[in-house]
Amino acid sequence: MTSRRRAFLWVLVAVLITLIFGFYSINSGQTTAVLAGTVRAATLLVLGAICGMICERSGIVNIGIEGQFLMAAFSAFTVTSLTGSLALGVFAGIATGLVLGWLLAAMAVGLKVDQIIAGTVINIAAVGLTSFFYDRSRSLGVGKYSPIELGSLADIPLIGRVFFSRPLLTYITICLIVLVHIAMFRSVWGMRTRAIGEHPGAADTVGIRVLRLRYFNATLAGGFAGFGGAYLALEAVGAFSRNMSGGRGFLALAVMIFGRRSPFGAYAAALFFGFATALQNQFQLNSTFDIPTQFVGMLPYVVTIVVVALSGLFGSMRDPAALGQTYEKS
């Protein structure tokens, strides 16, 4: 199964690379734009996926990522527009995410509410609260995070534009991906986290405090989604608008699953989904092809459905055994 899956992925990568170079030789400007858009979209998705992954590896389903994105984007935007500081906005976004993560834990772990319901509560609350407090007249004032060119790396054709002349939060995200990957698979914290998601009873008998670690992880994970929300408002868009997360919190869950609940895998998956989003934007901007915009707009979602369905066919990873279950001490 795994070898078939691997073959499938390699074929996918090969086809994509061929297409990219093909297009680049025909129209370098548009290709660069699409790929830059890919990385831009992927950054948000991978942050959401990391949030989902930390939760699910600990045994908690988090479908509230969408709401965490939205509320964090809102508070990041509001704080920056009030104080004029982008950094304070980012901290506000992270803080919002942490609070919402803790709220998820309080409901799902503490009160043992059904985890799907707990996540839904967060999503609904986010839409309601941000719409209610939304102030149309507000603007960022200081402008959004602007690209930083990483010296001569930025001069490499195509890749330089796409990866090495990005704004700050994208660079931080890439560092976080590496950090979380190492932490999840090599650190004491990661090992214990994986244990409580698979067999909380076993973890308990060796003295790991399951509920406490679940609280901690859900809160920490919320911080990543919060950072994602800040990225959305302060770097990707530079403004806040109603419901601006637009379902990407849910897409992040698909990214997480397709990326096999590992940060590296999630980033690969996020780039793939991001590519679909960027392609859609590009199609809508230029009218070379006469396709109705409604169909073009479907692209990322159709890709999601097809890819998730296919990844199932090619043997996806098994869920953590205790996923979605509350843990009762016996």
Binding site: I182, V188, A195, A202, A203, V206, I208, R318, S330
Partner: protein, 504 residues
């Protein structure tokens, strides 16, 4: 020098409505093996859970190394050198052996798990206690017996001086059991003390230094193997005289009911598990399949009952071909099935006793009329089953999951036997249940045979096969390597055949 490694002094523990243990005292000395013997519900598990700090005694005290202690929880017990191997293993299946052993007490380097160091320490333990385990294997890929060794290593890694094992042999094959007993013996020579919970008499006599028998939460006897016997222990345990041997007459075989010809079946990993196997079971006889678990028994049973596709060959029941037909069709030919995995194929835990008593026939009269379930018929049928098969349940609408293993099994047997059956296939029918229930189920199977049913009995318990079967077929690597008449079968010889010795 420590006198008492671990002990209990007149401990009493009450649960709502139950007196789980009543003034129980035990003590374990260094280098000795203490067997706690008793039926399910006798209070053994409650007692050791108090020794391990999971429960606190309501009265009395726990003693560790000659000191009265007030355990705050399992981690407190672990710190004081107590290790416990639970009946249901507390291992994380997708993690490696090393990771499982060090989990919770990991050697660290800069916040990262120092896996090379962990591996080194585990290998040291493996060599010192000669517990053969591959440290890099994933736990989910290991056989049960090896997983248990990982549990023991986990305790030893935490410097356990006392090892408590809760029903350690319930899931083991005879060979694995022998190996475990050997391991425990070796441990005691290194000064480790062992508390061993079981209801299997042979093991107690083979390994224990001291025996404490519990019944209804009280100590009913303290003895040693040399001063006791299987019969005496069984009587103490059950509180009445029990028949360990099944009384049965010589079989009167009739026409062939089940015929299997050149059957080939694959296991879950698409490896051939049953290999060109042929057998016949006649009306009025019990054919016992002996063999170490994992030699194709499960696949054979599943192929016959329609739960698994067969790759080649034929299965005939009463001369009708049933190869690769549906389980319902096969059942409708008068086939009763006591499945190996009672939780998975035997009962639906969240359904009531009543519903489980007819779940194999819910779609037929009288339980269903015009697509509607008939409550009255269902209830009265369940009443009969419960009475006739001695299923101890508080009510008929109790969820089956809350019953003990023995009572679930009696319910399954009752359900399967209450229809007209020509052929019975019983896989591990008495696994993990207490003596009283075993005795009852054995008698029921023999009775069914005497009424003219053909019986295929698959069991990992050699004693059960020898005691019940009229003919014995030994299964080794998916093939029947010998068929013997039970009257002239000999334990040693079958054991060797099971291990593949003398098989060309």
């Amino acid at each position: 020098m420590v006198d008492v490694l671990i002990g209990a002094q007149s401990v009493t523990k009450r649960f709502p409505g139950v007196l789980a243990t009543n003034q129980v005292s035990i003590e374990l000395k260094p280098g000795r093996i203490l067997a706690l013997l008793g039926e399910n519900g006798a209070g053994k598990s409650t007692l050791v859970n108090m020794l391990f700090g999971m429960y606190r005694p309501d009265e009395g005290s726990v003693i560790i190394k000659d000191e009265v202690v007030n355990l705050q929880g399992p981690s407190d017990a672990i710190r004081r050198g107590i290790g416990m191997v639970h009946q249901h293993f507390q291992l994380v299946p997708p993690m490696s052996v090393v990771e499982n052993i060090v989990l919770g007490a990991e050697p660290k380097k800069l916040g990262l798990v120092d896996l090379p160091e962990a591996r080194k320490r585990v290998l040291e333990l493996v060599t010192r206690f000669s517990l053969d385990v591959d440290p890099d294997a994933l736990v989910e890929e290991l056989p049960v017996g090896t997983q248990q060794r990982v549990e023991i290593l986990k305790a030893l890694y935490r410097n356990a001086e006392v090892l408590i094992l809760d029903e350690p042999t319930a899931v083991l094959t005879p060979q694995e059991t022998d190996h475990l007993l050997q391991v425990l013996r070796d441990l005691t020579t290194r000064g480790v003390g062992v508390v061993f919970i079981t209801h299997k008499l042979r093991e107690v006599l083979a390994i224990a230094d001291d025996i404490v028998v519990l019944r209804n939460g009280q100590v009913v006897g303290t003895t040693t193997p040399s001063a006791s016997s299987e019969t005496a222990l069984a009587e103490m345990m059950v509180g009445r005289s029990v028949l360990l041997r099944v009384d049965k007459t010589i079989s009167q075989p009739g026409e062939v009911v089940l015929e299997v010809r050149n059957l080939e079946v694959d296991d879950d990993r698409s490896q051939r598990a049953v290999n060109n196997l042929s057998l016949k079971v006649r009306k009025g006889e019990i054919l016992g399949i002996a063999g170490v678990e994992g030699n194709g028994q499960r696949e054979l049973v599943e192929a016959i009952t329609g739960l698994r596709a067969s790759e080649a060959g034929e299965i005939l029941i009463s001369a009708r071909a049933v190869t690769n037909t549906s389980p319902r069709k096969i059942a409708s030919l008068g086939v009763g099935h006591i499945p190996e995995d009672r939780e998975k194929h035997g009962v639906i835990g969240v359904y009531s006793v009543e519903e489980n008593a007819m779940i194999n026939r819910y779609h037929r009269k009288p339980f269903s009329l015009r697509g509607l379930l008939q409550r009255k018929a269902i209830t009265s049928h369940a009443k009969e089953v419960v009475n006739e098969f001695d299923v101890r349940t508080p009510r008929l609408d109790t969820a089956v999951a809350t019953l003990s293993g023995g009572n679930k099994q009696k319910l399954i047997v009752g359900r399967e036997f209450s229809g007209e059956i020509k052929f019975l296939i019983a896989a591990q029918p008495t696994r993990g249940i207490d003596i009283g229930a075993i005795e009852f189920i054995h008698r029921s199977i023999v009775k069914k045979r005497d009424e003219g049913a053909a019986v295929l009995l698959v069991s990992a318990e050699l004693d059960e096969i020898i005691g019940l079967a009229d003919r014995i077929a030994v299964l080794f690597e998916g093939k029947i390597v010998a068929t013997l008449d039970a009257a002239e079968a000999d334990r040693e010889q079958i054991g060797l055949l099971m291990a593949g010795v003398g098989v060309s």
